[in-house]
Amino acid sequence: MRNFWRDIKGTLQPFWITLGYLFKKPVTIQYPEEKRTPPPRYRARLVLTRDPNGGERCVACQLCSAACPVDCISMQAAEDEDGRRYAAWFRINFSRCIFCGLCTEACPTLAIQTTADYEICNREVLNLVYEKQDLLIESGGKDTEYNFYKHSGIGVAQVRGEGEEEHGPVDPKSLMP
């Protein structure tokens, strides 16, 4: 007999909850007519950013490609005239990318960053292979301050001795008594 009341209650309670939601604001939205603003740390399309001086941040160190669990990043490193290492080409295959963001964690230069641009579907798979020119943006992304070459690459992107953890060249002979 106790079971009987319990079952009645169990049948009616869900209806009650449904009834309650009828009067609340719906969570579903009418995509694509309506669009949602994702949170800033949302992980969608990747971009390559630039340092405060406008230089390409990516040094083609291959770390993102090594970190990527689905192997969808490839590139070729090259040397610029001033000794700077950069990516001659850089390619992300977004049809394989699982948007895990591990590449951005691996990146020592803050070059590769996730954005909230999630609308990159395409009927043609090859259109999802993004080249460097498709990836490179004109801003520093989430961190506009950081410049890898200020900390490293002695004498590459700034005059020797002007880096942040650098001192000017020393002439050891000047230390002689």
């Binding site: 160190c61 291959q62 040397e79 000794g83 900390h151 490293s152 001795g161 650098e166 001192h167 060249p169």
Partner: protein
Amino acid sequence: MVNLTIDGTQVTVSKTATIYEAAKEIGIKIPVLCYAKKLMPYGACRFCLVQVEQMKGRLIPACTTPVSEGMVVTTTSEEIEKVRKTVMEFLLVNHVLDCPVCDKGGECDLQDLAYEFGSTSNRFEGEKFDLPTDEVNPLIERNMNRCVLCGRCVRVCDEVVGYGSYSFINRGFETKIATAYDRGLSCEFCGQCVSLCPVGAILPRPFKFKARPWQIKEVDSVCGYCGNGCTVTLGVKDNKVETIRFNDEIGVNDGNLCIRGRFGYSYVNHEDRLTKPLVRKDGQLVEVEWDEALQVAADGLAKAQQGQGAGILSGARLTNEELFMLKQVAKTLGTENLDNSGGECYKGVTEGLKETLGVAASTGTFPQIEHADVILAIRSDFYETHPVVGMVVNQAIRRNEAQLLVVADKKGKLDKLPREKTLLSQPGLELDVINAMCKVLLDEGLAKTDGVDGVEELQAALADFGLAEVAKRTGVDAAALQTAAKQLAGAGNAAILLAYGLPYQGLSTELATAAANLAMLTGIAGREGSGLYLCGEKANSQGAIDLGILPQGNGLGARAMLAAAAEGKLDALYVVAEDPLSSYPDRDSIAKSLENVPFLVVQDLFLSPTAEQADVVLPAASFAEKDGTFTNAERRIQRVRHGIKSPGEARSDGAILTSLAGKLGSSLAFTGSAAIFAEIGKEVPAYAAFNYNEIGPQGVVWGGETLQPASRKLVAVAGGVAADGDFKLVTGSALYHSGTISTRAKGPTAVLSEAYLELCREDAADLKVADGDLVKVSGNGTELKLKAKVGNRLPKGVVFTPYHFAEAQVNRLYKGEAVIPVKLSK
């Protein structure tokens, strides 16, 4: 043997082992940075500190401390970890944060250790290194900001290479590694420092920014250049050999390489490689399909065989399996005219040694040389021809206090070492010096004549090789000659080194015979630990001899074939992996042979000057594109492995020869190299003992570490003939090149891109020529213009020119003699 306890485990090791080596034996890993297996213990970095019960109160470096009986060692404890971590912090005080742009990233010992110790922050602060990079030379980049001062480059360049480029300069925080006067690096560019630098301070420039280590496929193979047979590890990415990697775990060479092996790989990726077969139609070479080319070749050769006959000339850079197939082609075709490498240079082995010792190979193995007490190098100090054996000689002198004797017409690189004695002889008269040594031994009763035939005959024949006469004739100091002979006879272990090759054709049989006589009289031949080394110029010179790529029956040898062709008495020539026009002596007569032979087939990687004359050109594969075995100059059979695909439609020589044999009507078919290797065993008994698939990383040595001579017969040889003329020209191999193929590789040509004429300062002053001036060299009826290179290696009146460069046409002067009288003028 010594017993000790490491981390509670008992271990018994040899008394020369260090704590580090003992721990390694039982699988305990002690972190190291400055330690390198092939270098002497040094103790620069202090990462390997351990605790030893008996030496309480301080930590002991494991890499420099020899084991002692009853030692109790602890390799990890809280204290040790703390100290090691601090050492790391010290190192990182001034180390740049370059990993993302540093090519070493991913295989950097410092990175690995920092990761292992979890060093993420530093308690100390200091100035980062701030030094300019050295990018003056095209091959090795030095960025001393990344240096950890382990001294491995300094030590390897000195201990192993014997060049001594580097040294520590300045003090304290300013200490750095520098070359003399802190200039740009300019050395022999063997790249040993690149291999040994644990960090990204010394890097190979041709590989700069090409790839990360994890993207590279490593293929262990054998260097395709000289008979040293070094193991090279091809670094392959996207079907391209991008670099040669360091591997000291396998092979005979302990990871040592010379410039050709280390930087000379790029010819395999060369854009001029032949990619399609060519057939001459209406006077032009046109691309055709394989089937057509093979058919034309087969028909032409068969037709020639019906007529006055066909001849086959081979190079010695084919694998044993390919050489076997070449022999099959000769058999199917029915020709006995078969030969390799110009036919003359290897006769020291096939005739000289065969007649005296009854074997046709070196009697010892290279590792034995390191333990020799006395080493005699004949004609050159061996470093130019077989640099890595040269490094072994260097180590023998430095580590084991060996005495090096060089009988040559010029000083060698090792000349500056202590315990080195060069018996400087007139060119072409080294033979007399060796004969005189034999005579000294016989006269003074030092000769070991038990079981040796022909002692009296030799004694009689050597009558006019008395010390005084020979000294007068050759210019060698009589007392030095006598001492040298005595040293050689008195040595426990000794080695006699003699290189042969295309530029060393003159007196090759005689020199080898004389060397064999000396080896018998000193007891070197067949003695455990000693050896007579006759080393071939090319990667598989020994294999070509073992497989009998020699004139068969009454067949013609290389010289005779070319002469017959010149006279119109040979109807076809099939040239495999050789460029006779560029590399054989007497270019003009060879040009005539190639012109007069009605049908010429050339099989090569490039459209060489010889191939340009051909009726059919078959594109072949380089060593990096095939599987098989090479036999090096110490009889070691090693596996060559396929690393990349051939460009275009090029095929391996083995595949070409198999198809050609098929077209000629042979029904032989093999399923790969292993099957052919097994078949070789049926013809060459020495090879029957081995199974192709069981050839390990060290290779297998046929005939054992010490090859026992089949006979001991002294054969007298007459002395050389002194050349007259103002200047005496000798030709030979330059350290940076091997054969003609290395002139297509970027690395070696970056250092040496053209032929030169080397002469001593005095002669240069007399002739009023300076380095780089053009000098007219006339002799043998021709005249050449060569750039002067002034040095102090040569005695007065002797000049040297390397033979590698096709454009210089040195082989118009050089007609196979030991020394060429020439006139020089500005």
